[in-house]
């Protein structure tokens, strides 16, 4: 056992040395690793990354950072959504930084004091099986009025569906959201574990439409499934969920952390993420000619997004209600 553990430690040494910048990353490893390697290549700064997994559904790292608050080992948190990062700000886990990339990002996607900055977003969308129905706003609206047994959504207790519910709570209030949720249940909406499963159900034609994110939609599209999307609009606005990046308070590698944040918020990184399989939507100014065709349309929709910074109270209250619902 000692020998094997020694081997393990040896294998980890280059990446977990004292010099390495520790990054907690809830963006999908398959896309993030390439950027992390590129950062190390460009700057010579080694990065030791801890990824979230689908097994822990991005809830793990936010909770972990809160629990590590008194003795942080992480330097930078790269989150694939915003609300968890704002929660960390409220818990006093983050420190502010306004670097070169901060100015590129529109006001509604960043904290004014620089505790966190958003970049490269996903959109909440209706994913539609085009063999089953037309992906038009009118057709979707008519489908939402009757029986929902051919529609799927993810459990609203985590991920972007929780953000979605929190926004509805913020806009509609508690009573209306709960009544709407219960009405959906009586109309037999299918609730599954995650957005990926919603995508799979629609792509396979088991369901005709569902709520998901653009990255899941593109994975179905690239697999050759007959799918199309329409943005989900609530009171006329879309729901754009950016990645967010923040430096941890008492980071032991402040300078390296700032360089990494600048790197992530650069035009180069946003373009790279928009060209990846997940087609993340650049939020800052970029060379439009380098954007993939699909991303240009998404970028238009993302500009019409709600400002998610205002829904934090709703997020907490909504989570309390969901806890009561799901912990029976």
């Amino acid at each position: 056992m000692v020998c094997t553990l020694s081997l393990l430690m040896l294998s980890g040494c280059p990446q977990t040395s004292e010099d390495a910048l520790v990054v907690y990353c809830s963006h999908d490893a398959v896309y993030a690793q390439e950027l992390l390697d590129q950062f190390t290549e460009e700057t010579g700064i080694p990065v030791a990354v801890k990824f979230d997994t689908e097994a822990t559904k991005s809830l793990g790292l936010v909770n972990l950072l809160v629990s590590e608050k008194e003795n942080p080992r992480c330097d930078v948190f790269w989150n694939n959504e915003v609300l968890g990062t704002v929660k960390l700000q409220q818990e006093g886990v983050l420190s502010p930084y306004k670097g070169a990339g901060f100015e590129r990002i529109p006001e509604q996607f960043k904290d004014p004091e620089g505790y966190w900055t958003g970049f490269a977003a996903r959109l909440r969308v209706y994913i539609v099986n085009t063999d089953k129905m037309e992906a038009s706003p009118d057709e979707i609206t008519s489908r939402l009025e009757g029986d929902l047994s051919r529609m799927a959504i993810a459990k609203p207790i985590y991920g972007t569906t929780l953000t979605h519910y929190s926004l509805l709570w913020h806009l509609w209030g508690k009573e209306k959201l709960i009544a709407w949720h219960e009405d959906n249940l009586t109309r037999h909406v299918n609730i599954v574990n995650g957005n990926g499963q919603v995508k799979d159900l629609v792509a396979a034609g088991v369901c005709d439409l569902g709520w998901t994110d653009t990255d899941d939609y593109f994975s179905a599209l690239d697999a050759g499934s007959p799918v199309d999307v329409q943005p989900i609009r609530v009171e006329g606005h879309t729901i754009s969920i950016p990645n967010s990046v923040a430096i941890i308070r008492e980071s032991k590698h402040q300078e390296a952390a700032q360089r990494f944040v600048d790197f992530l918020l650069s035009e180069q990184t946003e373009l790279k993420l928009s060209q990846s399989a997940s087609r993340q939507i650049p939020l800052g100014t970029v060379d439009e000619s380098q954007l993939p065709e699909e991303t240009r349309q998404l970028r238009e929709w993302a500009r019409e997004s709600h400002d998610l910074r205002q829904i934090l109270d709703a997020h907490r209250e909504c989570l309390e209600w969901l806890s009561a619902e799901y912990l029976k």
């Binding site: 980890g12 997994t53 809830l59 909770n63 459990k155 207790i157 599954v192 799979d200 799901y326 912990l327």
Partner: protein
């Protein structure tokens, strides 16, 4: 569905699988006993393939089909239970093979010699005790394995108590509250394990397999049993493997060209080997010092439950608790090392190790081993004698250690939660990749993740031949 309903459904499912699997395992045991050496090897091979197949592979192959049954939850749950039942056939059969009988051949013979008016009751009593002795451990182990399952139920959208506890974490329920809710399922598992233990504890000290006389199987039974074993390998392993790895050829090259693959493999193998062997050795020490006859250590008696019970909570809760503990002094200094994840894996594996070893405990030296030992060894017989000693003395231990290492290798959650930054296991990587659907990289990773333990097993077999070649200490007595 409420938590209590989920718990009841899981309980029902585990009872159902154990009830269905036990007669099949009894049949397979008979089949094994009546088969030629070559057929026996083939049977074991077919049984072990599903057991060692990563749950991730099976789960994702059936995830879409299971999802398509979303409006038929009973069918979906039935598929989930069928896959689990087939997967664990090897464990049930192993338990039966290594479970000691209730009565020795001499006592059975004595009972047969009794006058008919007295023999009837005694024979029936012996038969019932013998049946219970053999069935209860098998049933209990199968029950516990199905009852605490998490990964497959999570992937196949089956509501179980383990998935509910995971969801609670998403809602930021304190770990202490989750542990409180886990008490009932843990007590249920302890109850079944205690039943299993009692059959070994209060029984005779007979050796497994030595007194089992199996009647021949009918042709129909033979065909059905072979069909079930083949279906297990086909449904749990071969079909998923084929389905997912159609493009593995180019995928393997792509994965191998990625610079992190080797370190991920090393991490997975390292954790699997170290924690599997540690659990094996610890379980052996605990059993020999606190459970079996002979010398008993107070330390082992006290330490045993403390070490064994945490694993019954499942790897997810164990990992969460350790995450909290390792942030407090004096453990904080080891927080960013490999040890928290290794300890979580070790604790998760230990109850399984105890159960597996208890089942194999009685498979020690037997009369024919003694005969083998006193056989004159010369150049012409050395190989055959050592081969015999290997099969009777060492093989069960090697088998147990291999199973535990593989369980450690394929376990996802402790490494996902507790591995220090910069250390990623191949299973975590695979889990992340599979999320995006089937493709070249996933196929390559899957193939590699399965080939590595297979290669290691071959190495182990090579190693045991080396071991067999070393003269046993007993030869000198």
């Amino acid at each position: 569905m409420t938590y209590v309903e989920s718990l009841l459904w899981t309980l029902f499912g585990a009872l159902l699988v154990a009830t269905c699997d036990v007669p099949i395992c009894l049949g397979i045991e008979r089949l094994l006993a009546r088969s030629s050496r070559r057929n026996r090897q083939l049977l074991w091979c077919l049984l072990f393939i599903p057991l060692f197949t990563p749950t991730l592979l099976t789960g994702y192959a059936y995830a879409n089909f299971s999802l398509s049954l979303i409006r038929h939850p009973l069918l979906s749950r039935g598929l989930y239970l069928l896959l689990l039942g087939l997967k664990f056939l090897a464990v049930g059969t192993l338990t039966l093979v290594y479970t000691p009988p209730a009565a020795s051949p001499s006592s059975l013979h004595a009972a047969y010699l009794l006058p008919p008016q007295n023999a009837g009751g005694i024979l029936w009593s012996l038969r019932i005790r013998s049946f219970l002795r053999r069935v209860v451990p098998c049933f209990s182990i199968l029950f516990v394995l199905v009852f605490q399952e998490f990964e497959l139920s999570s992937i196949m959208v089956t509501d179980t108590w383990t998935v509910r506890l995971f969801d609670e974490q998403a809602l930021r329920v304190p770990v202490a509250e989750s542990l409180r809710r886990a008490v009932v399922p843990v007590l249920i598992q302890i109850g079944f394990l205690a039943l299993c233990y009692s059959q070994f504890r209060w029984g005779t000290r007979l050796r497994a397999n030595s007194t089992q006389l199996f009647k021949p199987l009918s042709l129909g039974s033979l065909a059905i049993l072979w069909f079930i074993v083949l279906m297990a390998a086909l449904l749990v392993t071969l079909f998923p493997f084929f389905f997912v790895s159609r493009s593995a050829g180019t995928g393997v090259l792509t994965v191998l060209s990625q610079k992190h693959t080797a370190s991920q493999l090393l991490v997975s193998v390292g954790y699997g080997l170290s924690t599997g062997l540690a659990a094996f050795l610890c379980a052996r020490w605990l059993i020999s010092n606190s459970l079996s006859g002979g010398k008993k250590s107070h330390l082992a008696r006290w330490l045993g439950p403390l070490l064994v019970i945490p694993g019954l909570f499942g790897s997810f809760l164990v990992s969460l608790v350790l995450q909290s503990l390792f942030q407090e002094p004096p453990l904080r200094m080891a927080y960013s090392t490999v040890f928290p994840a290794a300890i979580a894996l070790f604790l998760f594996l230990l109850p399984r190790a105890v159960v597996v070893l208890l089942a194999m405990q009685q498979a020690g030296p037997q009369e024919h081993l003694h005969l083998a030992r006193i056989l004159p060894i010369d150049h012409s017989t050395r190989g055959a004698v050592h081969e015999l000693q290997w099969r009777l003395l060492h093989q069960p231990a090697w088998l147990a250690a291999a199973i535990l290492c593989l369980w450690g290798y394929f376990e996802l959650t402790p490494l996902a939660l507790l591995a220090p930054p910069g250390i990623h296991s191949i299973m975590v990587q695979l889990y992340n990749q599979v999320h995006f659907g089937r493709g070249v990289i996933v196929s390559g990773l899957l193939l590699i993740s399965v080939l590595v333990p297979m290669a290691l097993l071959l190495l182990v077999l090579g190693g045991r031949r080396l071991l067999a070649a070393i003269p046993s200490r007993n030869e000198h007595h």
